[in-house]
Amino acid sequence: MSSAAKTPVMPRRWSVPDEAGILGMLIVVFALFCAMSPNMRTVSNGLVLLLNGAVIGLLALGQTFVLLIGGIDLSTGANIAFMGVLVSLLMAHGVVWPLAIAMTLAAGAVMGTINGLIIQIFRVPPFIVTFSTMGVASSMALIITGANSISVTQSGFAVIGQGAIAGVPVPVVVLAIFAILAGLLLSKTILGTHIYATGGNREAARLAGVNLTLTTITVYAISGFCASLGGVIDTARLMVGFPTTGLGDELFFSIAAAVIGGVSLFGGVGRVQGAMIGAVLIAVVSDGMNVLNVSSYWQSLVIGLIVLVAVIFDTYRRRHAGTPISETLRAFLRRHGSRRLS
């Protein structure tokens, strides 16, 4: 197009990014915790917090891709267990650790690919497929190990979980690198555009020539890869492969992190930035409650309420920038209060 150069692109007006609201909430929550304890506001605690949140951050990263096409990956926590056991088993069988890591990451991507393939070939809901591979992965971890832990003896491997680069723990660095790559992938590449298109309107995307099979498989492979990276990191932190690692809150927290950050469960909407803010919010709250000596009985309640309030404010900001939140309630009551709900 020769005329292309002549037409000026409309200047895009600068606008508040979607994630501003939840970032604000994160800052408020963090500030509150800091105000309550001097131990919270040390640099070293900041790093501990990020270190402890790194694996959930990685899972949230993978989950973001899957959610963006309107899918869900329930197998992600179980994959941590399976892959953590796998990497330690490989090392126990004499594979040198860098190779063992590479093989494990490949295995994670393969697990994800299998999810994607089943979803795409048989058109079975992702919930069922990944529910099933969740079962398979967690069983595999137990079967391989006989439920025993597998110690890691190659001490070099520890660097992945315990090392630091310029004072920043390696897992945090790894997460940061992959988050940036993921952000670029989604915003700058054809594949990224196709992922959003698939989630936005699957049928329209197909008619526009988007390869749904490829996008579906890729996002699940990415999620599998992220989970295996999480498994490697968890194992390197403990220096022991343990078949129940990752079977705790990881799955829920990873989905919640993405949703908190504005990723829609129905696909097509959301960014990596948001999911990472969500993951940090969860990390801050989990860390903060232990630093502040909140009783473990109260912790789920506190984390639940903080997340809820943060998302309420964020949703609010997105919908009615400006109006105070009391107005929403009043509007609701106006709509429903005077009349009977009928």
Binding site: M1, T189, I190, T193, A204, A208
Partner: protein, 519 residues
């Protein structure tokens, strides 16, 4: 003639910084059909949505029989006697026809449905409007035209005093439109209700309306009884003075292709069909020609285009593309072979609602503007912008396309199709919802593409006039059959075309009866 039933006064609406209605005042009278016209993005749909309580205005008042009203929702409006059909189909596809017809006004006692009564009433209604349905069909399984009729029926069946219809006829065929026009006029007179209809088709406006209001950029520019207006007045109010004379009504005057070019067909279709689908379809399509495909609703025109684009399988017959066997397994496949398809179901599969117009247009051609999968965004956007501008999209092309007006969305879809630089272009209702000014430009645009770039175009349209304007030849589809016999447009008028479509299908003798051979 009748009393002022509903008055909208000084309605103002803003979206962000853009004001889409600048204090619009209109009056709808009992017993009258009121036409609301204007260019795409003029604010017609927004006005209706405000009156119906689906959108909250930033200023102005609505009065129903002199009383100021402010409906909190369309259902509140409906219970006050204001029923509406919006531009985007809003039936629930997972429910049955009957369930849709009675949604939120179900018959029953103490919350328990009276299914028999609803079913009986629904059958009556469907029969009255000539729809061959039982009422128990899931809406998802119905073709677009029937869905549109069901929405209209559902609004008319409510005992409303004001009925708002936003482009009710876009998917309907002539017969249905004629019947609808007749029904609307009758209902208006007999029940003394006010009917408001948004429509881009002038003949319909003149056939049905008593009174016309035209909007331009959110302002009333014309308001008067139809008797006092001429076609020219109306066109001028939509497209502006300068262009009115030049643009309307002329057939684009590019030459037909010489007959020898047709000797090398771009696409040859020989007796294709499938069980529960097309029966037997044959035709040739040559580079640089524009072939119209006409038929009654349900005759299989859309199915044919979908089959050509790899969206539906065919099990017998064969297709040849530039001399090679062509059997697309998927749309991607078809695209790679140089075909492009514009769907009639804009909202269902036409575009990605969260993407803006530019991004939607870029989607199929990203590969052209990328290196190792990395998009050269600026370059891609420039290309898309050029085409989008030439189609005169109004509204913010950087806003999610789902928020643009219907006609402007349609323009974006056309731009997307054009950008793909296809060698074969399949258009299903290409100007659905597009205003008269832009329509003739689009016709000219299509002809230019064919004549200058040698694109072979296959056009499906329920508007005979459109086919007669834009096509070289027309082929007829009937009950899943198409013999491929061509009718030159110069020898046709709408009446002849309709008669041809009604004639019983002639078996396709060239390839034998494909269905029989398969059995």
């Amino acid at each position: 003639m009748g009393a002022d039933l509903l008055v909208a006064e000084g309605i103002v609406k803003r979206y962000g910084n853009a004001t889409v209605l600048h204090g619009v005042t209109v009056t709808f009278r009992a017993g009258e059909v009121h036409g609301l016209i204007g260019h795409n993005g003029a604010g017609k749909s927004t006005l209706l949505k405000i009156i119906a309580g689906a959108v909250v205005p930033d200023g102005g008042t609505v009065r129903l029989e002199g009383q100021p009203v402010s409906f909190s929702s369309p259902s509140a409006a409906a219970s006050a006697g204001v029923a509406s059909v919006f531009q985007e189909l809003s039936l629930l596809e997972n429910l049955t026809v009957t369930q849709n017809l009675f949604l939120a006004r179900e018959l029953g006692t103490a919350g328990v449905l009276d299914k028999k009564a609803m079913q009986a009433q629904a059958s009556d209604l469907l029969r009255t409007y000539g729809l061959p349905l039982t009422g128990q069909e899931k809406v998802a399984s119905l073709p677009v035209a029937q869905r549109q009729m069901i929405e209209i029926i559902s609004a008319l069946a409510r005992n409303a005093r004001v009925i708002l219809l936003d482009e009710p006829t876009t998917a309907l065929e002539r017969r249905q439109i004629d019947q609808l026009v007749h029904t609307l006029r009758r209902i208006a007179r007999e029940r003394q209700v006010a009917i408001v209809i948004v429509d881009h088709k002038l003949d319909e406006i003149f056939a049905v309306c008593d009174h016309v209001t035209a909007l331009t950029d959110g302002r009333v520019v014309l308001n008067g009884p139809i008797a006092s207006l001429t076609h020219a007045d109306v066109v001028e109010s939509i497209v502006g003075k300068d262009e009115a004379a030049a643009s309307h009504g002329n057939r684009p005057s590019s030459p037909r292709l010489a007959a020898d070019v047709k000797a090398l067909p771009a696409l040859t279709v020989e007796g294709i069909g499938a069980p529960r689908g097309l029966k037997s379809v044959s035709f040739d399509l040559a580079p640089g020609e524009i072939l119209g495909l006409y038929g009654l609703a349900g005759s299989g025109r859309s199915r044919l285009l979908r089959t050509l684009y790899g969206l539906e399988p065919f099990e017998w017959g064969r297709m040849t593309l530039r001399g090679q066997v062509y059997h697309p397994a998927s749309p991607r496949n078809a695209m790679k072979s140089g075909l492009t398809y514009l769907s009639e179901e804009r909202k269902a599969n036409g575009f990605i609602p969260e993407f803006d117009a530019v991004r939607n247009c870029m989607l199929p051609v990203l590969g052209r503007h990328a290196w190792l999968g990395m998009i050269r965004k600026h370059e891609a956007e420039q290309e898309a912008l050029v085409v989008l501008r030439s189609l005169r999209i109004r509204g913010n092309i950087r806003a999610p396309l789902g928020r643009l007006s219907g006609g402007n969305q349609q323009k974006a879809l056309l731009a997307k199709a054009v950008l793909q630089k296809p060698s074969i272009l399949l258009l299903d209702e290409p100007t659905k919802g597009i205003d008269v000014g832009t329509k003739s430009e689009i016709h000219a645009f299509i002809r230019r593409m064919a004549k200058e770039s040698g694109v072979a175009v296959l056009v499906v349209s329920t508007e005979e006039e459109e086919l007669l304007t834009v096509c070289d030849d027309i082929i007829i589809m009937n009950g899943g059959h198409c013999s491929g016999e061509r009718h030159e447009v110069v020898a046709l008028d709408s009446g002849t075309l309709r008669r041809l479509a009604l004639a019983p299908p002639r078996p396709d003798t060239r390839f034998g009866n494909a269905m029989e051979t398969v059995k």
